[in-house]
């Protein structure tokens, strides 16, 4: 009897500890982000209030109004930054996907000498820290005149994303049985047709998630963009965040509003592909 009730108490204690631990961990994960979102809706006086105001008395859209008001009203040309970010991220993602599909297919379907070495070399190229790469790129782009253009940044982001898209797409093509494509070829398809009609549709969702990963990388990149962009010609949103800072002060409210604008597309896209993304990384890595 005694042992049974002891056992039950122990079990209940474990369950409570599990719940409390999980609750604490989840709040640590969510609160910092939510706090930024909340502050974007509060007037500056309330953000700076001493003692702090915990529950906002009223929500205001002032920061958003100021942000979209354009440069004339003391705002930041957010819409231009948003457009730059969008053009650069989408173009570089599409190119990185095409290049990555070709490369991933080669790694998944062909056997050749030095495959492992080549794969690690590709990955190592991605490991070069952005700031170390930005010094020579800054000089070379300056000489060739593609500094502060969309083209320059797109080029850099494609190179940054290709190793990763190859890794992910390679993993997805491996999941497609070889026999499928072979059967199509026996039925009279060329290899090219077999690829588009059989293998591509099967791996499509995985390729889409590789695309979103590439998009997010370009969307969020800062170290290279901060040096290779100079003006509203090509400044992207992460660089634009710095427009809210000056020597001694920071416009926290405005910055939070721009942060929210940056997070929303990332949030939507990540939720859409989270399942495929995990599958891609683990298949590519474990069975590769």
């Amino acid at each position: 009897m005694a042992t049974a009730s002891q056992h039950r108490i122990k079990k209940r204690a474990l369950k409570t500890a599990h719940f409390v631990g999980l609750f604490l961990a989840m709040s640590l994960i969510c609160v910092p982000g939510l706090w930024v979102v909340l502050n974007s809706f509060r007037p500056t006086i309330e953000i700076m209030a001493k003692p702090p105001v915990w529950i906002p008395e009223s929500l205001s859209f002032d920061h958003y109004r100021a942000m979209f008001g354009g440069a004339g009203t003391g705002g930041v040309p957010v819409l231009t930054y948003f457009r730059n970010s969008l053009i650069i991220s989408i173009t570089s993602t599409v190119i990185a996907l095409l290049v990555g599909m070709a490369g991933g297919y080669a790694f998944a379907r062909y056997r050749f000498k030095g495959k492992g070495v080549m794969f690690v070399a590709l990955m190592a190229s991605r490991a070069v820290p952005g700031v170390a790469l930005s010094l020579p790129l800054f000089i070379i782009f300056g000489r060739t005149g593609i500094i502060d253009t969309h083209f320059g940044l797109i080029l850099v982001y494609v190179a940054m994303n290709v190793p990763f898209t190859i890794w992910l797409i390679d993993g997805f093509f491996r999941q497609v049985p070889k026999e499928l494509a072979e059967a199509a070829e026996i039925d009279g398809c060329t290899r090219w047709q077999a690829f588009w009609k059989v293998e591509f549709p099967v791996a499509r969702s995985g390729i889409a998630s590789a695309g979103i990963f590439a998009f997010l990388t370009s969307w969020n990149e800062y170290a290279l963009a901060s040096q290779l962009t100079r003006s509203t010609n090509s400044k992207t949103m992460p660089v634009g965040l710095l427009d809210f800072t000056s020597q001694f002060t920071l416009n926290w409210g405005g910055m939070c509003a721009l942060a929210v604008l940056m997070i929303i597309p990332a949030l939507v896209l990540t939720f859409l592909v989270q399942k495929h993304l995990i599958a891609g990384l683990t298949f590519g890595g474990v069975k590769g």
Binding site: A25, P32, A106, L122
Partner: protein, 298 residues
């Protein structure tokens, strides 16, 4: 007609190699060359003066450089290990949940979507000594009266940076380890139970070996962009106060762009590149060997 002679895999890989050659390899050759010159941004002619290994000797004898180097390695070691342990704990906790697990998993990925620069600003705000969330909370709870100078004191600033870094990347580990937990076959676990293993023993000798490849994948992915700590540090403290949070990357950035001493900065950059590549190759090799142990190798 030359393309017809090339094997198809080479044709397929060629675009990838060309673009990486153009954006990564050629600039790296250039920066290797310029690291042997006293190249100064405002004096272009200095690019043609060969001074041999002078910059490297200068870096090797520069106390600031070694402090930044040591701090970077320390930060990476602490951050990666903490992230791994916390991620493992989080994944184990989430995997035990039966109801609402999908919602939890989604919430867990929240920090992954934040741009590192955004994370920097967010935590600069949160750790702000005047209006920050941390000090406000501590003061409201009556734990302290003074405004703790989180980002002004050297040690506290380092803690704040590591906190921000761990916050962003723990979910990468948690998500991948969770995927690993779901992929574990149930038979060995049941066999261990029948043989009388304690929960700890079956975790240590059955679950953990199966998880190792997943942990190394997460490590490999993280090692690909360890330098994103640059964005966070640059925003939160910019290497200050008085260089007490200076990392290799902020030091390089300042030497190159603010002081315009490109040659010297490139020499230091090369050392940091070698360090990053060593990290990546190390984790990829670990990944391959742990895969082979489980018989999953190609």
């Amino acid at each position: 007609m030359t393309s017809a002679k090339l094997p198809p895999w080479l044709v397929l890989l060629l675009p990838a190699f060309i673009i990486i050659l153009a954006v990564v390899a050629i600039p790296l050759v250039f920066s290797l060359y310029s690291s042997f010159t006293p190249y100064h941004l405002t004096r272009p002619d200095t690019l043609w003066k060969w001074i041999g290994g002078f910059n490297y000797i200068k870096a090797a004898t520069d106390a600031n450089f070694w402090k930044a180097f040591g701090r970077t390695v320390l930060l990476l070691t602490i951050a990666l290990n903490t992230e791994m342990l916390l991620g493992l704990g989080l994944a184990l906790m989430v995997s035990k949940v039966t109801r609402g697990q999908r919602a939890l998993r989604t919430a867990m990925m929240f920090p992954m979507m934040f741009s590192p620069i955004l994370v920097g600003f967010q935590f600069k705000f949160i750790f702000n000594d005047n209006v920050g969330l941390v000090n406000n909370a501590l003061q409201s709870l009556g734990l302290t009266d003074i405004a703790i100078p989180w980002l002004v004191d050297g040690n506290l600033a380092m803690f704040a940076i590591i906190f921000a870094e761990v916050w962003t990347s723990t979910s990468v580990f948690a998500i991948l380890i969770l995927a690993g937990l779901f992929a574990i076959p149930q038979d060995p676990l049941e066999a261990a139970k029948v043989d009388g293993c304690t929960p700890f023993q079956s975790f240590r000798y059955v679950t953990l070996p199966f998880l190792m490849p997943f942990i190394y994948i997460a490590m490999a992915i993280r090692s690909l962009d360890v330098a994103r700590a640059y964005d966070i540090v640059q925003v939160m403290t910019n290497g200050g106060p008085a260089r007490r949070t200076e990392l290799l990357w902020t030091l390089i950035g300042r030497t190159g762009y603010v002081d315009a001493r490109m040659g010297y900065a490139n020499a230091m950059g090369y050392i940091s590149i070698l360090m990053s590549i060593a990290f990546t190759v190390y984790f990829f090799l670990k990944l391959q060997s742990s895969r082979r142990e489980l018989g999953m190798g190609d």
